[in-house]
Symmetry: C2
DNA sequence: TATTATATGTAGCCTTCGCTACACATGTTG
DNA sequence: CAACATGTGTAGCGAAGGCTACATATAATA
């Protein structure tokens, strides 16, 4: 049983199939890579929100909003500093660099569109907000545009 | 500048705001948790595919489809064994447990719905397939239902 | 101002998912 | 069956994101 059709046996290794498999791998790689930027996006998004509403972003507030401890925030912020998305001074609050502000703006924009889209589809506010937090990071420009278009169509009728 | 309205100053700490912040934290926690199951879902999904098409799932094939090395596969499979989703014997291929099969079925189903939904929205095949790989893991039952409903509406007209 | 509450920072731990390098088992083929 | 190709396993590394415990700094207040 369990006859071996695959690896060493070329049967399932034709070019067509090989291309399909490579495409699948590429999609998974993209998704994994997206996950690396997810956290960065959520951080700068929350930081931008805090700066808007409070005038500044402090580690405890970021921690509270992300549901992690302040230690985790401090460590992650260190990475974001390395990546030139935020800047800090000891015992002072956290600032966005130009790149960080830009990323935050993009993230916020996308977040809003995804939420609006889900609501337009008939999803409840609670579920829309919850799901958007994950979905937002995996939406390509093309898909985002489709979401926007759908919202527009819904409103203009 | 940068007046301090937040932490030690109660101004932005009323109950309403506090609840909103707690909700936001909960959404982020959910998303993080979802990420832990993402990889498990992708693995069992790919394993199920391979068993269907090849009669068995081997580490190299899983690796090829996920775009990682076989070492990563072996290590992750070890975790899935601990979690009772798959089983292995040394130098033999990889099998799904009942729980694994069940999860794979759910993952495949969801994956298909998300892809169909995106295509129905007008997204290209390439983008739909790529984006679905990430989106699928962040779609609640409610949202999935909304996706299905939309597809049905599109077909029945 | 002294005390207390809150915020920030640091040390050190864990887990997961990646990788390379190399050893060993199994399958294929001359 | 011997040689070679392919698959599997293991050792050991790194980066990230979590955490607790504890030290230090800053802010609020008695
Ligand atoms: Mn998010
Ligand atoms: Mn967001
Ligand atoms: Mn996936
Ligand atoms: Mn999938």
């Amino acid at each position: 049983m369990a006859r071996r059709i695959s690896p060493q046996n070329p049967e399932s290794r034709n070019t067509t199939d090989g291309r399909r498999v490579e495409q699948q791998a590429e999609n998974h790689r993209r998704t994994r890579k997206a996950h690396l930027s997810e956290i960065a996006e959520d951080y700068v998004e929350v930081i931008a929100e805090l700066i808007d509403s409070n005038g500044e972003a402090r580690a405890v507030d970021i921690a509270r909003r992300l549901g992690v401890t302040h230690v985790t925030v401090v460590k992650t912020i260190a990475r974001l500093v390395r990546e030139d998305l935020v800047s800090t001074k000891p015992y002072r609050s956290i600032f966005l660099t130009d790149a960080g502000r830009q990323l935050a703006e993009k993230a916020r924009h996308r977040h809003q569109i995804v939420v609006r889209f889900l609501k337009s589809l008939g999803v409840s506010d609670a579920a829309a907000n919850a799901d958007a937090e994950g979905i937002e990071h995996h939406v390509s420009a093309e898909t985002l545009q489709a979401f926007e278009q759908y919202c527009r169509r819904m409103n203009h009728e």
